[in-house]
Amino acid sequence: MANYQSLAAEGMWNNNPALVQLLGLCPLLAVTATVINGLGLGLATMAVLVGSNITVSLVRNFVRNEIRIPVFVMVIASFVTIIQLLMNAFTYELYLALGIFIPLIVTNCAIIGRAEAFASKNKVLPAAFDGVMMGAGFTLVLVLLGGMREVLGAGTLLSGADRLFGPIASNWTLTIFATEQPFLLAILPPGAFIGMGLLIAAKNAIDNRLTARQTKQKKQVTRIRVTAES
């Protein structure tokens, strides 16, 4: 189980929490109006995932089976509260922008899903790594979707970067094109649904092409072997 390469592939692509497991869609769709909001929530989710995976893995041998779910819930809830307090203290502007969606990380099924499906059955290091990769996969989708919506909607990228990175980032905003009237569809919730649908479709298309190529290669391989033997 402790194959790090396959863990990375699982989290980022094959079993991506947002694109394949379709977990945690509520915050994903709601906050991705800009790249920075997406990145902020993604990193917060990743921190909670890593913390809860490590803790769950540490206590997996002496927590009895009947009470494991309430224990997981308590661990996750306390990590979310701690992250919320830290964000409130150190990234106040971002905290205000993300608002209710930070406490709602508790309800992100991706987190309890990983605790139950992976961390409770594995050693600490693989569990932590799984948390990082699942979190990174989730963050990647948040950032992609946020980027799509921000470029289409407002014509900018990375606006408000100083909320996350401090004053040095105040001039990081890239203006792709200047627009007087933003493209509302991209900014409002329907844009999130459409963008998410397109991302899932793109992922499936790439997967299909990959499998098609693989089967073709396999055929060639068998043919070569046949000629070699004859």
Partner: protein, 210 residues
Amino acid sequence: MLDTLAKNGGMLGAFAVVTTALISLTYLGTEDRIEQQQRARLITILNEVVPAALYDNQLYADCTLISADALGSDRNHRVYRAREQNQPVALALQTTAPDGYSGDIELVVGVDASMTVLGVRTLEHQETPGLGDKIELAVSDWIRTFSGKTYREEEKQAWQVKKDGGQFDQFTGATITPRAVVGAVRRTLDYVADNRTVLFEQPANCSETE
């Protein structure tokens, strides 16, 4: 059976204690900084509606809670009093525009002794991005058009959007939002004109309640 119950209960209890302890530790560690951040933000906003050069008291602390229909809702609104050598200089009032396009719009209005508006800022709103959100300074300069305008009761008519015969621009495609904001500012100024002295005499009581 009882044995299992006790074990499970004990374990859950232990987890509750440990996790609560962790949260309390984080809370204690961040408490000061969070308060500092909130105060810094409040001071930034107050400085935008009442220039810091005008007064010498601690504006954010000299605050009183007022509940008046003119301020848009029956909630308590904060009124900050700016004084120079204990003489009243200006007021910064939190006010609500209850008739926004989607819900309440929270504003803060700064006004000096001659009833001239020093500045207006939007604190919170849910207006449509791209249309109604031009009331935000980050999106448009529109909210600055209030600054420097003097309110007189006999010229009340001017405190409306142009469509209604006033002096303030509405936005293309969105009249309801600016109308709500202009209306809220007008009502607030009207309230200040009638209650100025009372507002300055109120005890500072913001920290006691809430």
